[in-house]
Amino acid sequence: MSDQIREQELPGIGRRYSVQADGGEVSIVIHHSGRRDIYLADATGHRQPAVATLSDDQARRLGAVLAGAYFQPTLTRQIEAVVGGLLIDWVTVHADSPGAGRSIADLQVRRQTRMTIVAILRGEDDVVMVPEPTEILQAGDRVVVVGRPDDLDGFVRHVVG
Protein backbone atom coordinates (compact mmCIF):
# COMPACT_ATOMS: atom_id res chain seq x y z
CA MET A 1 0.00 0.00 0.00
CA SER A 2 1.36 3.40 -0.81
CA ASP A 3 0.47 6.94 0.15
CA GLN A 4 1.07 8.09 -3.38
CA ILE A 5 -1.81 9.85 -5.02
CA ARG A 6 -1.78 9.31 -8.77
CA GLU A 7 -3.03 12.14 -10.91
CA GLN A 8 -4.31 11.95 -14.46
CA GLU A 9 -5.77 14.45 -16.86
CA LEU A 10 -9.12 13.46 -18.37
CA PRO A 11 -9.36 15.77 -21.40
CA GLY A 12 -12.76 17.39 -21.77
CA ILE A 13 -13.86 16.19 -18.33
CA GLY A 14 -11.40 17.17 -15.63
CA ARG A 15 -8.79 15.43 -13.49
CA ARG A 16 -8.62 12.13 -11.72
CA TYR A 17 -6.82 11.41 -8.44
CA SER A 18 -6.42 7.82 -7.31
CA VAL A 19 -5.09 6.34 -4.11
CA GLN A 20 -4.60 2.70 -3.24
CA ALA A 21 -6.55 2.07 -0.03
CA ASP A 22 -7.09 -1.01 2.12
CA GLY A 23 -9.02 -3.47 -0.01
CA GLY A 24 -9.29 -1.43 -3.18
CA GLU A 25 -8.73 1.80 -5.01
CA VAL A 26 -10.37 5.14 -4.37
CA SER A 27 -10.54 7.52 -7.33
CA ILE A 28 -11.81 11.05 -7.20
CA VAL A 29 -12.75 12.71 -10.48
CA ILE A 30 -13.01 16.49 -10.36
CA HIS A 31 -15.05 17.71 -13.31
CA HIS A 32 -14.47 21.13 -14.86
CA SER A 33 -17.98 21.95 -13.69
CA GLY A 34 -16.95 21.41 -10.07
CA ARG A 35 -18.82 18.14 -9.80
CA ARG A 36 -16.90 15.36 -8.01
CA ASP A 37 -17.32 11.64 -8.58
CA ILE A 38 -15.92 9.23 -6.03
CA TYR A 39 -15.19 5.76 -7.39
CA LEU A 40 -14.52 2.79 -5.15
CA ALA A 41 -13.14 -0.27 -6.88
CA ASP A 42 -12.49 -3.42 -4.89
CA ALA A 43 -9.15 -5.14 -5.07
CA THR A 44 -10.34 -7.68 -7.63
CA GLY A 45 -10.72 -5.16 -10.42
CA HIS A 46 -12.70 -2.34 -11.79
CA ARG A 47 -15.96 -4.00 -12.64
CA GLN A 48 -19.04 -2.12 -11.47
CA PRO A 49 -17.37 0.27 -9.09
CA ALA A 50 -19.48 2.11 -6.54
CA VAL A 51 -19.83 5.76 -7.44
CA ALA A 52 -20.99 8.75 -5.46
CA THR A 53 -21.50 12.16 -7.03
CA LEU A 54 -21.04 15.34 -5.02
CA SER A 55 -21.49 19.00 -5.82
CA ASP A 56 -18.56 21.37 -5.40
CA ASP A 57 -19.94 22.56 -2.07
CA GLN A 58 -20.60 19.08 -0.68
CA ALA A 59 -17.15 17.96 -1.77
CA ARG A 60 -15.48 20.80 0.14
CA ARG A 61 -17.38 19.93 3.31
CA LEU A 62 -16.56 16.27 2.93
CA GLY A 63 -12.94 17.22 2.34
CA ALA A 64 -12.93 19.17 5.60
CA VAL A 65 -14.38 16.16 7.41
CA LEU A 66 -11.70 13.90 5.92
CA ALA A 67 -9.01 16.38 6.91
CA GLY A 68 -10.26 16.27 10.50
CA ALA A 69 -11.60 19.79 10.79
CA TYR A 70 -14.76 18.60 12.54
CA PHE A 71 -13.54 15.69 14.60
CA GLN A 72 -10.22 14.08 15.41
CA PRO A 73 -10.02 10.39 16.21
CA THR A 74 -7.25 10.71 18.86
CA LEU A 75 -8.55 12.53 21.89
CA THR A 76 -5.33 13.99 23.20
CA ARG A 77 -2.88 16.25 21.47
CA GLN A 78 -4.99 17.15 18.49
CA ILE A 79 -3.50 20.52 18.02
CA GLU A 80 -0.15 21.35 19.40
CA ALA A 81 1.44 24.67 18.80
CA VAL A 82 4.83 25.64 20.12
CA VAL A 83 5.65 29.32 19.96
CA GLY A 84 9.08 30.30 21.18
CA GLY A 85 9.29 27.52 23.75
CA LEU A 86 5.70 28.03 24.84
CA LEU A 87 3.25 25.23 24.12
CA ILE A 88 -0.46 25.64 23.59
CA ASP A 89 -2.42 22.40 23.55
CA TRP A 90 -5.87 21.10 23.95
CA VAL A 91 -6.93 17.92 25.75
CA THR A 92 -10.29 16.33 26.44
CA VAL A 93 -11.39 15.21 29.90
CA HIS A 94 -13.08 11.78 30.05
CA ALA A 95 -15.63 10.58 32.56
CA ASP A 96 -12.97 8.44 34.27
CA SER A 97 -10.21 11.07 34.17
CA PRO A 98 -8.64 11.93 37.55
CA GLY A 99 -9.62 15.56 36.91
CA ALA A 100 -13.30 14.94 36.15
CA GLY A 101 -15.59 16.45 38.79
CA ARG A 102 -12.75 18.29 40.57
CA SER A 103 -11.99 21.99 40.62
CA ILE A 104 -8.80 23.52 39.24
CA ALA A 105 -7.77 24.62 42.75
CA ASP A 106 -8.44 21.15 44.10
CA LEU A 107 -6.24 19.64 41.41
CA GLN A 108 -3.46 22.17 42.16
CA VAL A 109 -2.88 22.25 38.45
CA ARG A 110 -0.32 25.04 38.41
CA ARG A 111 1.74 23.79 41.32
CA GLN A 112 1.63 20.09 40.41
CA THR A 113 2.07 20.37 36.63
CA ARG A 114 3.50 23.88 35.96
CA MET A 115 0.83 24.26 33.25
CA THR A 116 -1.94 26.84 33.15
CA ILE A 117 -5.50 26.25 32.00
CA VAL A 118 -6.44 29.25 29.86
CA ALA A 119 -9.84 28.16 28.60
CA ILE A 120 -12.40 25.39 28.75
CA LEU A 121 -14.58 24.47 25.75
CA ARG A 122 -17.72 22.90 27.09
CA GLY A 123 -20.44 21.36 24.92
CA GLU A 124 -21.21 22.77 21.49
CA ASP A 125 -20.41 26.43 21.97
CA ASP A 126 -19.88 27.18 25.63
CA VAL A 127 -16.47 28.69 26.31
CA VAL A 128 -15.08 29.45 29.77
CA MET A 129 -12.26 31.93 29.23
CA VAL A 130 -9.53 32.09 31.91
CA PRO A 131 -11.46 29.91 34.38
CA GLU A 132 -11.51 30.71 38.09
CA PRO A 133 -9.67 28.20 40.36
CA THR A 134 -13.09 27.15 41.63
CA GLU A 135 -14.17 25.99 38.16
CA ILE A 136 -15.01 22.29 38.22
CA LEU A 137 -13.84 20.19 35.25
CA GLN A 138 -16.50 18.01 33.68
CA ALA A 139 -16.37 14.95 31.46
CA GLY A 140 -16.25 16.07 27.83
CA ASP A 141 -14.54 19.39 28.60
CA ARG A 142 -11.89 20.35 26.12
CA VAL A 143 -9.21 22.06 28.16
CA VAL A 144 -6.80 24.52 26.55
CA VAL A 145 -3.51 24.63 28.40
CA VAL A 146 -0.35 26.71 28.11
CA GLY A 147 3.09 25.81 29.43
CA ARG A 148 6.44 24.29 28.59
CA PRO A 149 6.37 21.39 26.13
CA ASP A 150 8.15 19.13 28.67
CA ASP A 151 5.38 19.59 31.19
CA LEU A 152 2.52 18.48 28.98
CA ASP A 153 2.89 14.75 29.71
CA GLY A 154 2.69 15.42 33.45
CA PHE A 155 -0.42 17.53 32.98
CA VAL A 156 -2.11 14.87 30.88
CA ARG A 157 -1.32 12.19 33.51
CA HIS A 158 -2.54 14.41 36.34
CA VAL A 159 -5.78 15.69 34.79
CA VAL A 160 -6.79 13.40 31.92
CA GLY A 161 -5.31 10.08 32.99
Partner: protein, 410 residues
Protein backbone atom coordinates in the same frame (compact mmCIF):
# COMPACT_ATOMS: atom_id res chain seq x y z
CA UNK B 1 -45.38 35.09 -47.20
CA UNK B 2 -42.89 35.68 -44.49
CA UNK B 3 -39.48 36.79 -45.54
CA UNK B 4 -37.53 33.66 -46.35
CA UNK B 5 -33.89 32.90 -46.79
CA UNK B 6 -31.21 32.86 -44.16
CA UNK B 7 -32.54 35.90 -42.36
CA UNK B 8 -36.14 34.78 -42.49
CA UNK B 9 -36.68 34.18 -38.83
CA UNK B 10 -34.68 37.14 -37.71
CA UNK B 11 -36.30 39.62 -40.08
CA UNK B 12 -39.82 38.48 -39.30
CA UNK B 13 -41.65 41.28 -37.57
CA UNK B 14 -45.40 41.36 -37.16
CA UNK B 15 -47.40 39.84 -40.00
CA UNK B 16 -46.84 36.13 -40.14
CA UNK B 17 -44.12 35.98 -37.52
CA UNK B 18 -46.59 34.35 -35.14
CA UNK B 19 -46.74 31.27 -37.32
CA UNK B 20 -42.95 31.02 -37.48
CA UNK B 21 -42.66 31.40 -33.73
CA UNK B 22 -45.24 28.67 -33.18
CA UNK B 23 -43.29 26.40 -35.53
CA UNK B 24 -39.99 27.19 -33.84
CA UNK B 25 -41.36 26.65 -30.36
CA UNK B 26 -43.05 23.42 -31.38
CA UNK B 27 -39.87 22.23 -33.07
CA UNK B 28 -37.79 22.77 -29.94
CA UNK B 29 -40.42 21.14 -27.78
CA UNK B 30 -40.73 18.07 -30.01
CA UNK B 31 -36.95 17.76 -30.12
CA UNK B 32 -36.62 18.21 -26.38
CA UNK B 33 -39.37 15.76 -25.44
CA UNK B 34 -38.14 13.15 -27.89
CA UNK B 35 -34.61 13.43 -26.51
CA UNK B 36 -35.98 13.21 -22.98
CA UNK B 37 -37.78 9.98 -23.80
CA UNK B 38 -34.59 8.63 -25.37
CA UNK B 39 -32.56 9.52 -22.31
CA UNK B 40 -34.56 7.08 -20.24
CA UNK B 41 -33.11 4.24 -22.28
CA UNK B 42 -29.65 5.77 -22.40
CA UNK B 43 -29.71 7.35 -25.86
CA UNK B 44 -27.75 10.50 -26.64
CA UNK B 45 -29.58 13.65 -27.67
CA UNK B 46 -28.01 14.33 -31.07
CA UNK B 47 -29.73 11.57 -33.12
CA UNK B 48 -33.06 12.33 -31.47
CA UNK B 49 -32.88 16.08 -32.20
CA UNK B 50 -32.19 15.10 -35.78
CA UNK B 51 -35.02 12.55 -35.76
CA UNK B 52 -37.38 15.29 -34.56
CA UNK B 53 -36.36 17.31 -37.62
CA UNK B 54 -36.97 14.36 -39.91
CA UNK B 55 -40.38 13.59 -38.38
CA UNK B 56 -41.69 17.16 -38.51
CA UNK B 57 -40.07 17.92 -41.85
CA UNK B 58 -41.59 18.00 -45.31
CA UNK B 59 -40.51 14.48 -46.30
CA UNK B 60 -42.48 12.51 -43.74
CA UNK B 61 -46.26 12.26 -43.23
CA UNK B 62 -47.80 14.21 -40.39
CA UNK B 63 -47.55 17.88 -39.45
CA UNK B 64 -44.83 19.91 -41.16
CA UNK B 65 -43.28 22.60 -38.97
CA UNK B 66 -40.74 23.86 -41.50
CA UNK B 67 -40.66 23.22 -45.24
CA UNK B 68 -37.01 24.02 -45.64
CA UNK B 69 -34.03 23.95 -43.30
CA UNK B 70 -33.06 27.33 -44.75
CA UNK B 71 -36.03 28.79 -42.86
CA UNK B 72 -34.04 28.31 -39.68
CA UNK B 73 -31.17 30.11 -41.39
CA UNK B 74 -28.92 31.97 -39.04
CA UNK B 75 -30.11 30.02 -36.02
CA UNK B 76 -28.53 26.83 -37.33
CA UNK B 77 -25.37 28.67 -38.34
CA UNK B 78 -25.13 29.88 -34.74
CA UNK B 79 -25.42 26.25 -33.66
CA UNK B 80 -22.49 25.29 -35.85
CA UNK B 81 -20.42 28.27 -34.68
CA UNK B 82 -21.11 27.63 -30.98
CA UNK B 83 -20.35 23.91 -31.28
CA UNK B 84 -16.96 24.63 -32.80
CA UNK B 85 -16.31 27.61 -30.51
CA UNK B 86 -16.91 25.41 -27.48
CA UNK B 87 -14.63 22.73 -28.89
CA UNK B 88 -11.87 25.31 -29.39
CA UNK B 89 -12.44 26.63 -25.90
CA UNK B 90 -12.08 23.23 -24.26
CA UNK B 91 -9.28 22.03 -26.45
CA UNK B 92 -5.75 22.21 -25.15
CA UNK B 93 -2.61 21.07 -26.89
CA UNK B 94 -1.08 20.47 -23.46
CA UNK B 95 -3.59 17.69 -22.85
CA UNK B 96 -2.34 16.04 -25.97
CA UNK B 97 1.35 16.46 -25.25
CA UNK B 98 0.93 15.34 -21.63
CA UNK B 99 -0.37 12.00 -22.91
CA UNK B 100 2.98 11.17 -24.42
CA UNK B 101 3.89 8.98 -27.34
CA UNK B 102 1.59 6.10 -26.55
CA UNK B 103 -1.40 8.37 -26.74
CA UNK B 104 -0.28 9.90 -30.03
CA UNK B 105 0.39 6.44 -31.44
CA UNK B 106 -3.05 5.18 -30.37
CA UNK B 107 -4.73 8.26 -31.82
CA UNK B 108 -2.81 8.03 -35.07
CA UNK B 109 -3.68 4.34 -35.45
CA UNK B 110 -7.32 5.14 -34.87
CA UNK B 111 -7.32 7.94 -37.44
CA UNK B 112 -5.45 6.01 -40.12
CA UNK B 113 -7.81 3.04 -39.83
CA UNK B 114 -11.02 5.04 -39.79
CA UNK B 115 -10.11 7.68 -42.38
CA UNK B 116 -9.03 4.93 -44.76
CA UNK B 117 -12.35 3.24 -44.13
CA UNK B 118 -14.10 6.44 -45.20
CA UNK B 119 -11.99 6.77 -48.33
CA UNK B 120 -12.58 3.11 -49.19
CA UNK B 121 -16.33 3.45 -48.82
CA UNK B 122 -16.43 6.62 -50.90
CA UNK B 123 -14.29 5.10 -53.61
CA UNK B 124 -16.30 1.88 -53.74
CA UNK B 125 -19.50 3.91 -54.12
CA UNK B 126 -17.93 5.62 -57.09
CA UNK B 127 -18.40 9.10 -55.62
CA UNK B 128 -16.36 12.07 -56.76
CA UNK B 129 -13.04 13.12 -55.29
CA UNK B 130 -14.43 15.95 -53.19
CA UNK B 131 -17.20 13.74 -51.85
CA UNK B 132 -14.68 11.06 -50.91
CA UNK B 133 -12.61 13.64 -49.05
CA UNK B 134 -15.63 14.75 -47.00
CA UNK B 135 -16.72 11.17 -46.47
CA UNK B 136 -13.34 10.35 -44.92
CA UNK B 137 -14.05 12.92 -42.21
CA UNK B 138 -17.70 11.97 -41.76
CA UNK B 139 -16.78 8.31 -41.26
CA UNK B 140 -13.47 8.91 -39.52
CA UNK B 141 -14.24 11.35 -36.71
CA UNK B 142 -16.02 10.32 -33.50
CA UNK B 143 -18.51 12.47 -31.67
CA UNK B 144 -16.68 14.20 -28.80
CA UNK B 145 -19.99 15.12 -27.20
CA UNK B 146 -21.39 11.60 -27.16
CA UNK B 147 -18.14 9.91 -26.14
CA UNK B 148 -17.50 12.30 -23.26
CA UNK B 149 -21.03 11.94 -21.97
CA UNK B 150 -20.87 8.16 -22.31
CA UNK B 151 -17.81 7.63 -20.14
CA UNK B 152 -19.36 9.79 -17.43
CA UNK B 153 -22.72 8.06 -17.55
CA UNK B 154 -21.33 4.55 -17.81
CA UNK B 155 -19.23 5.37 -14.72
CA UNK B 156 -15.99 4.55 -16.40
CA UNK B 157 -13.99 7.59 -15.35
CA UNK B 158 -11.85 5.54 -12.97
CA UNK B 159 -11.12 2.82 -15.54
CA UNK B 160 -7.51 2.39 -16.63
CA UNK B 161 -8.33 2.94 -20.32
CA UNK B 162 -10.35 6.14 -19.90
CA UNK B 163 -7.38 8.53 -20.12
CA UNK B 164 -6.31 6.88 -23.36
CA UNK B 165 -9.86 6.87 -24.72
CA UNK B 166 -10.33 10.58 -24.10
CA UNK B 167 -6.85 11.19 -25.48
CA UNK B 168 -7.86 9.57 -28.77
CA UNK B 169 -10.78 12.01 -28.88
CA UNK B 170 -8.35 14.92 -28.41
CA UNK B 171 -6.18 13.62 -31.26
CA UNK B 172 -9.33 13.49 -33.39
CA UNK B 173 -10.15 17.08 -32.41
CA UNK B 174 -6.70 18.25 -33.52
CA UNK B 175 -7.14 16.41 -36.74
CA UNK B 176 -10.57 17.94 -37.20
CA UNK B 177 -9.16 21.46 -36.85
CA UNK B 178 -6.48 20.87 -39.47
CA UNK B 179 -8.90 18.99 -41.71
CA UNK B 180 -11.48 21.79 -41.57
CA UNK B 181 -8.80 24.30 -42.50
CA UNK B 182 -7.74 22.25 -45.51
CA UNK B 183 -11.22 21.22 -46.56
CA UNK B 184 -12.70 24.61 -47.31
CA UNK B 185 -10.53 25.54 -50.32
CA UNK B 186 -11.39 22.14 -51.78
CA UNK B 187 -15.09 22.53 -51.11
CA UNK B 188 -15.04 26.12 -52.32
CA UNK B 189 -14.76 24.80 -55.85
CA UNK B 190 -12.72 27.76 -57.01
CA UNK B 191 -11.97 27.58 -60.73
CA UNK B 192 -8.43 27.76 -62.01
CA UNK B 193 -5.16 27.04 -60.31
CA UNK B 194 -4.23 30.71 -59.83
CA UNK B 195 -7.46 31.56 -58.10
CA UNK B 196 -7.23 28.45 -55.91
CA UNK B 197 -3.71 29.37 -54.88
CA UNK B 198 -4.78 32.92 -54.08
CA UNK B 199 -7.72 31.77 -51.97
CA UNK B 200 -5.62 29.17 -50.18
CA UNK B 201 -2.97 31.81 -49.47
CA UNK B 202 -5.55 34.23 -48.09
CA UNK B 203 -6.98 31.49 -45.90
CA UNK B 204 -3.57 30.44 -44.62
CA UNK B 205 -2.63 34.03 -43.76
CA UNK B 206 -5.88 34.46 -41.84
CA UNK B 207 -5.44 31.18 -39.96
CA UNK B 208 -1.85 32.02 -39.07
CA UNK B 209 -3.00 35.40 -37.76
CA UNK B 210 -5.64 33.73 -35.61
CA UNK B 211 -3.21 31.15 -34.26
CA UNK B 212 -0.78 33.97 -33.44
CA UNK B 213 -3.59 35.84 -31.70
CA UNK B 214 -4.40 32.73 -29.67
CA UNK B 215 -0.73 32.35 -28.78
CA UNK B 216 0.29 35.92 -28.00
CA UNK B 217 -2.93 37.90 -27.83
CA UNK B 218 -4.18 36.72 -24.44
CA UNK B 219 -3.80 40.04 -22.71
CA UNK B 220 -5.49 42.34 -25.22
CA UNK B 221 -8.30 39.85 -25.86
CA UNK B 222 -8.64 39.24 -22.14
CA UNK B 223 -8.88 42.97 -21.56
CA UNK B 224 -11.40 43.37 -24.36
CA UNK B 225 -13.64 40.68 -22.86
CA UNK B 226 -12.68 41.04 -19.23
CA UNK B 227 -15.65 42.19 -17.24
CA UNK B 228 -16.93 40.89 -13.95
CA UNK B 229 -20.45 40.91 -15.28
CA UNK B 230 -21.71 37.66 -16.79
CA UNK B 231 -24.25 39.41 -18.97
CA UNK B 232 -21.69 41.66 -20.63
CA UNK B 233 -19.18 38.85 -20.94
CA UNK B 234 -21.76 36.68 -22.73
CA UNK B 235 -22.65 39.39 -25.20
CA UNK B 236 -18.98 40.13 -25.91
CA UNK B 237 -17.69 36.57 -26.32
CA UNK B 238 -20.58 35.59 -28.58
CA UNK B 239 -19.76 38.69 -30.61
CA UNK B 240 -16.10 37.67 -30.89
CA UNK B 241 -17.03 34.11 -31.91
CA UNK B 242 -19.48 35.17 -34.60
CA UNK B 243 -17.26 37.97 -35.90
CA UNK B 244 -14.22 35.73 -36.32
CA UNK B 245 -16.35 32.97 -37.86
CA UNK B 246 -17.84 35.49 -40.28
CA UNK B 247 -14.49 36.93 -41.33
CA UNK B 248 -13.22 33.38 -41.78
CA UNK B 249 -16.13 32.59 -44.09
CA UNK B 250 -15.43 35.79 -46.04
CA UNK B 251 -11.79 35.03 -46.67
CA UNK B 252 -12.68 31.56 -47.88
CA UNK B 253 -11.88 29.37 -44.88
CA UNK B 254 -14.99 27.96 -43.27
CA UNK B 255 -16.89 29.65 -40.46
CA UNK B 256 -16.42 26.36 -38.58
CA UNK B 257 -12.63 26.66 -38.36
CA UNK B 258 -12.98 30.38 -37.61
CA UNK B 259 -15.24 29.58 -34.65
CA UNK B 260 -12.86 26.87 -33.45
CA UNK B 261 -9.92 29.29 -33.46
CA UNK B 262 -12.04 31.98 -31.80
CA UNK B 263 -12.55 29.43 -29.01
CA UNK B 264 -8.80 28.88 -28.86
CA UNK B 265 -8.19 32.62 -28.63
CA UNK B 266 -10.61 32.96 -25.70
CA UNK B 267 -9.24 29.78 -24.07
CA UNK B 268 -5.96 31.54 -23.36
CA UNK B 269 -7.52 34.49 -21.56
CA UNK B 270 -8.34 34.97 -17.91
CA UNK B 271 -12.08 34.73 -18.54
CA UNK B 272 -11.82 31.27 -20.16
CA UNK B 273 -13.35 29.39 -17.24
CA UNK B 274 -16.34 31.67 -17.02
CA UNK B 275 -16.90 31.53 -20.78
CA UNK B 276 -16.76 27.71 -20.60
CA UNK B 277 -19.65 27.83 -18.17
CA UNK B 278 -21.62 30.56 -19.92
CA UNK B 279 -21.39 29.11 -23.41
CA UNK B 280 -22.95 25.77 -22.49
CA UNK B 281 -26.67 26.71 -22.44
CA UNK B 282 -26.24 28.74 -25.63
CA UNK B 283 -24.42 25.92 -27.36
CA UNK B 284 -27.01 23.36 -26.24
CA UNK B 285 -29.90 25.44 -27.56
CA UNK B 286 -28.45 26.43 -30.92
CA UNK B 287 -26.80 23.06 -31.52
CA UNK B 288 -30.20 21.43 -31.00
CA UNK B 289 -31.54 23.70 -33.75
CA UNK B 290 -28.63 22.77 -35.97
CA UNK B 291 -29.32 19.04 -35.55
CA UNK B 292 -33.05 19.62 -35.99
CA UNK B 293 -32.47 21.60 -39.19
CA UNK B 294 -30.20 18.88 -40.50
CA UNK B 295 -33.03 16.42 -39.93
CA UNK B 296 -35.38 18.70 -41.87
CA UNK B 297 -33.09 18.63 -44.87
CA UNK B 298 -33.03 14.82 -45.01
CA UNK B 299 -35.14 13.46 -47.83
CA UNK B 300 -36.44 10.24 -46.30
CA UNK B 301 -37.29 8.97 -49.77
CA UNK B 302 -33.56 9.00 -50.51
CA UNK B 303 -32.75 7.08 -47.33
CA UNK B 304 -33.71 3.87 -49.11
CA UNK B 305 -31.24 4.49 -51.91
CA UNK B 306 -28.37 4.97 -49.45
CA UNK B 307 -29.35 2.12 -47.13
CA UNK B 308 -26.73 -0.27 -48.46
CA UNK B 309 -23.86 2.24 -48.34
CA UNK B 310 -24.95 3.24 -44.82
CA UNK B 311 -24.96 -0.35 -43.60
CA UNK B 312 -21.61 -0.99 -45.26
CA UNK B 313 -20.15 2.14 -43.67
CA UNK B 314 -21.56 1.22 -40.25
CA UNK B 315 -20.05 -2.26 -40.46
CA UNK B 316 -16.65 -1.01 -41.62
CA UNK B 317 -16.63 1.71 -38.94
CA UNK B 318 -17.54 -0.73 -36.18
CA UNK B 319 -14.81 -3.13 -37.27
CA UNK B 320 -12.29 -0.31 -37.65
CA UNK B 321 -13.04 1.03 -34.18
CA UNK B 322 -12.77 -2.38 -32.53
CA UNK B 323 -9.44 -3.02 -34.25
CA UNK B 324 -8.22 0.45 -33.22
CA UNK B 325 -9.42 -0.29 -29.67
CA UNK B 326 -7.45 -3.54 -29.57
CA UNK B 327 -4.29 -1.84 -30.83
CA UNK B 328 -4.70 1.07 -28.41
CA UNK B 329 -5.19 -1.32 -25.48
CA UNK B 330 -2.11 -3.27 -26.51
CA UNK B 331 -0.01 -0.13 -26.77
CA UNK B 332 -1.00 0.73 -23.22
CA UNK B 333 -0.61 -2.85 -21.94
CA UNK B 334 -4.30 -3.21 -21.12
CA UNK B 335 -6.59 -6.20 -21.54
CA UNK B 336 -9.61 -7.21 -23.64
CA UNK B 337 -12.18 -5.34 -21.57
CA UNK B 338 -10.27 -2.09 -22.00
CA UNK B 339 -10.02 -2.78 -25.75
CA UNK B 340 -13.76 -3.39 -26.02
CA UNK B 341 -14.52 -0.29 -23.97
CA UNK B 342 -12.34 1.89 -26.20
CA UNK B 343 -13.57 0.45 -29.49
CA UNK B 344 -17.28 0.51 -28.71
CA UNK B 345 -17.15 4.00 -27.19
CA UNK B 346 -15.27 5.78 -29.98
CA UNK B 347 -17.62 4.26 -32.55
CA UNK B 348 -20.28 6.89 -31.72
CA UNK B 349 -20.74 9.42 -34.53
CA UNK B 350 -22.56 12.69 -34.15
CA UNK B 351 -22.00 16.42 -34.37
CA UNK B 352 -18.83 16.42 -36.48
CA UNK B 353 -20.21 14.09 -39.13
CA UNK B 354 -23.29 16.29 -39.38
CA UNK B 355 -21.24 19.50 -39.49
CA UNK B 356 -19.05 18.12 -42.28
CA UNK B 357 -22.09 16.94 -44.23
CA UNK B 358 -23.78 20.33 -43.87
CA UNK B 359 -20.62 22.09 -45.09
CA UNK B 360 -20.52 19.74 -48.06
CA UNK B 361 -24.18 20.28 -48.90
CA UNK B 362 -23.74 24.04 -48.63
CA UNK B 363 -20.85 23.76 -51.10
CA UNK B 364 -23.11 21.94 -53.54
CA UNK B 365 -21.58 18.49 -53.33
CA UNK B 366 -23.47 15.27 -54.12
CA UNK B 367 -26.91 15.52 -52.50
CA UNK B 368 -26.78 11.91 -51.36
CA UNK B 369 -24.33 12.96 -48.65
CA UNK B 370 -27.22 14.33 -46.55
CA UNK B 371 -29.35 11.17 -46.33
CA UNK B 372 -26.22 9.03 -46.11
CA UNK B 373 -24.83 10.98 -43.16
CA UNK B 374 -28.23 11.17 -41.48
CA UNK B 375 -28.68 7.41 -41.67
CA UNK B 376 -25.08 6.74 -40.67
CA UNK B 377 -25.24 9.06 -37.66
CA UNK B 378 -28.68 7.78 -36.61
CA UNK B 379 -27.43 4.19 -36.54
CA UNK B 380 -24.07 4.83 -34.87
CA UNK B 381 -25.23 7.49 -32.43
CA UNK B 382 -27.90 5.10 -31.17
CA UNK B 383 -26.19 1.71 -31.56
CA UNK B 384 -22.81 3.03 -30.34
CA UNK B 385 -23.86 3.89 -26.78
CA UNK B 386 -25.99 0.75 -26.51
CA UNK B 387 -23.01 -1.35 -27.59
CA UNK B 388 -20.63 0.54 -25.30
CA UNK B 389 -22.75 -0.28 -22.27
CA UNK B 390 -22.48 -3.97 -23.15
CA UNK B 391 -18.78 -3.97 -23.98
CA UNK B 392 -18.08 -6.89 -21.62
CA UNK B 393 -19.92 -9.15 -24.08
CA UNK B 394 -17.46 -8.22 -26.83
CA UNK B 395 -14.52 -8.48 -24.41
CA UNK B 396 -15.43 -12.12 -23.84
CA UNK B 397 -15.13 -12.79 -27.57
CA UNK B 398 -11.76 -11.13 -28.02
CA UNK B 399 -9.10 -13.85 -28.01
CA UNK B 400 -6.76 -13.52 -25.05
CA UNK B 401 -3.70 -14.13 -27.22
CA UNK B 402 -4.24 -10.69 -28.74
CA UNK B 403 -3.17 -9.25 -25.41
CA UNK B 404 0.23 -10.74 -24.62
CA UNK B 405 1.06 -8.57 -21.65
CA UNK B 406 -1.22 -8.81 -18.63
CA UNK B 407 -2.82 -5.59 -17.50
CA UNK B 408 -0.34 -3.90 -15.15
CA UNK B 409 -1.63 -3.43 -11.64
CA UNK B 410 -1.04 0.20 -10.93
Amino acid sequence: MTPTGPLGLLAATGGNSGRELVALGAALLVAGLLARAGRRIGLPTIPLFMAAGILTGPHTPGPVLFRDSADLGLLTTLGLILLLFHLGLEFSLDDLLAGGRRLLAAGAVYLVINLSAGVAIGASLGWGGREVLVLAGIVGISSSAIVTKLVVELRRLANPETGLLLGIIVVEDVFLAIYLALLQPVLGGVEGAGETAASVARGVVFLVLLVALARWGRRPVGRLLGTGDDELLTVCFVGVAILIAGVAANVGVSDAIGAFLAGQVVAGTSVAHRVQRLVLPLRDLFAAMFFFAFGLSVDTGALGSVAVPVLAAVTVTALGCVVAGIIAARIQGLGPLAAANIGLTVVARGEFSLILASLAIAAGLDGRLAPFTAGYVLVLAIAGPLAASRSHLLARWLPARLFPTPAPTP
